[in-house]
Symmetry: C2
Subunit: 429 residues, 2 copies
């Protein structure tokens, strides 16, 4: 396996190519009907009715926030499915390109794919509904991305837990479709085999071969453990979202399927550095190796942290300033900034202000990577096309108040990953 070539990064004053690595789009739920196989129409009507009831309850429970959010952003929210409005929103936010996930409406769930086949895919128990809902969204997503293929990279839905054969067929059919750059799998495997087992190996092989990046996105968690307690949910949801990363890594999928890329989306990056420290030491410190004996042998071909930015990417969405400060320990060539548009927990419609606030202390080269180049490399986006768009709308180093002379030291990653020297790490097995 060779490390993929990275786009060279400039330190000049030209505008940033901002690619939002986490946006959402979807039709109003009833509008998915023509995209859905007719054998599912009857159960779909029941699903739509349930969605509207869900909306009604949200309107009762959360009236004030809903009125303010939907009132202030009425036009922009239509960009969930209207491509012209969407392009205006992206322009105003300074965003050239975007990586698009399902579920445009995170507040009342009115833009979920049929049967909740998007961020709630793991909750579906009926395989026909899981695949039918996913395919309906994928058909629409392809059309939607075609409205502006330079800007829009779609992430299709593939409920791999339900049927590996059907999942592989869907992945192979997605490969030819313009605008589709990745697949999202259910965040949790529930009662199905875990992602590190051999069960899904043909899925990983198909994704590696077609170049489709595999994603899990935050949303699901172990709901039974929380009851109504939202604080418990918030605290645990990152664990459940990035859990597949370690399943794939430690089961050697990235070694066995060269070209396989996995990206964990909207669960931050703050947890990554410490886990890399711990894993690198387990695989790389000689005194650990002595104790672990043969049980770690042959699992990996390099230290865990070396997979980051090569096979492992982080769709970190709107990073906290602390996460921007930790960019080198977490992975300067793996972290991808994002707006989460049109969700209220993201930066939209204040992205420009947010960028001006948060990136002042970062070097221009680091900022180029986090804001766009990493996504361009991870997804194979159209660099020239995006450069042309960014020329008109992108923020500049000057507008972000950055020091034009600040350079990233060549050993920034090595220094940030302090454990490599402190434990004298090198692969022991």
């Amino acid at each position: 396996m060779t490390t993929p070539a990275k786009t060279p990064v400039g330190t000049g004053p030209e505008p940033y190519i901002v690619v939002s690595s986490d946006t959402h789009a979807g039709l109003q739920c009833e509008e998915y009907r023509p995209y859905l196989e007719s054998s599912l129409h009857e159960e779909f009507d029941a699903y739509v009715a349930e969605r509207h009831e869900h909306r009604r309850i949200q309107e009762e429970m959360n009236a004030e926030f809903l009125a303010e959010w939907e009132g202030d952003n009425a036009e922009g929210l239509l960009g969930a499915y209207d491509p012209d409005i969407r392009d205006k929103v992206l322009d105003a936010d300074g965003v050239a390109g975007e990586v698009i996930f399902a579920d445009g409406d995170a507040v009342t769930g009115q833009e979920s794919p049929p049967f909740g086949a998007g961020l709630s895919a793991g909750q579906i128990t009926d395989s026909r509904q899981a695949f039918g809902g996913a395919r309906a969204h994928n058909r629409w997503l392809e059309e939607f991305c075609a409205t502006n293929p330079v800007r829009r990279a779609g992430v299709a839905l593939v409920p791999i837990t339900h049927d590996v054969d059907e999942a592989v067929r869907e992945i192979e059919s997605l490969a030819g479709r313009p605008g589709i750059h990745g697949v999202m799998i259910p965040t949790m495997w529930h009662g199905f085999p875990p992602y590190g087992s051999d069960h899904y190996d043909r899925v990983w092989a198909a994704c590696a071969e077609t170049g489709l990046v595999v994603h899990t996105h935050s949303g699901e968690a172990d709901f039974d453990a929380y009851g109504e307690n939202v604080a418990m949910y918030i605290n645990e949801v990152p664990f459940w979202t990035h859990r597949p990363l370690w399943q794939l890594l430690f089961s050697g999928k990235f070694d066995r399927f060269p070209g396989l890329k996995y990206c964990v989306v909207e669960c931050g990056s703050y947890w990554l550095g410490d886990l890399l420290w711990k894993c690198d030491v387990n695989f790389g410190a000689s005194w650990k190796a002595k104790k672990m004996g043969s049980r770690m042998k042959g699992l990996l071909t390099k230290l865990p942290s070396e997979y980051v930015g090569d096979s492992i990417f982080i769709g970190a969405s709107t990073m906290s300033t602390e996460e921007i400060r930790r960019r080198h320990v977490n992975g300067i060539d793996a972290l991808m900034w994002g707006t989460d548009y049109p969700h209220p927990e993201g930066s939209w419609p204040n992205t420009v202000m947010r960028l001006e606030n948060d990136f002042r202390e970062a070097s221009i080269e680091d900022t180029r990577r986090l804001l766009g180049l990493n996504a361009i490399d991870c997804y194979g986006l159209d660099f020239d096309g995006l450069t042309a768009i960014a020329a008109d709308i992108g923020p500049t180093p000057e507008s972000l108040g950055q020091d034009p002379d600040l350079r990233t030291p060549p050993d920034a990653t090595r220094t940030a990953r302090w454990w490599l020297d402190e434990y004298d790490c090198s692969l022991q097995y």
Copy 2:
């Protein structure tokens, strides 16, 4: 609820009172027979036979490590149940006092309480075996701690998931026994109600009332997800071990049961600071409060980080040097160092060397807290008695190579918890 008084901490040259917050003790498994209710003897004999078969397999699979470990430490390993040998080991390690958990033998499991009622308690499916095995160990543990009550603080076993009434009876009966300072509950609740539900409230009330500290200890994890993959286990086991902390915290148990203390043992402390940052922001940043609306209201009475060192303690075992560096962000009055004696992943028999290596850069007052004072305060240990023992065996600031003039700044915690100012945190609900 008032913050409990802390033992004043000196900066002088006197020896450290080292209390190992994580040691293990237990009989050779067959020796538990006289401590076990006779109605369980028949199934106990089958259990003992299974343990010996387990030993045989370990001898085959792990021969080299086993021969070296058990050969080099033959006498000291007998301290798992021989009090005189144990005191010699503690003396040689410079350890004055200890907090004792079950399962002396972590390598081949020959000193597990009946039916695995110690670190594997969550795996037991039969309630009679769960309680019977726990009670057998508790009876022996009481005797064992009585051999040197100043030095030994025992943590009894209470499998609360199986029966709340029986658990409360056991806790109440433990309260009167000298040498018993805490209870260990199953690390995972499996198919039983989660620890944050109301189901166990009488357990927490009984622990608060009796002053017994509640513990979870590393060992269990979601084994079904790993197969034979030990790297997956190592990566996840901290999550499963500290998960109950957040269940108790966010369900308001520490507010509703004043005096309730919870301690998470042998899963490090590296994960704590970042989770405190995230939780404090969720409860304390005004812009978060606006979004979360009423859903967080009334869950807590102060910021999450303020429970640390008051209701929440960390039996951090042998800390890494990085974790010692992070002592202020994680909780200078909550972290408790430990040797993990007689387990091979701990510092024994090289504790003195380890302390000399790791604490050189720490202030004397911080070192006093981490090495012993926090445990003395958490468990209400005999300060004067331990001081007398430490006078003969304890390491000194000088022997650890520390700077006698180094002082901890009064605002060290506030500075380390950078998010309090950066997000202007104060409880919003």
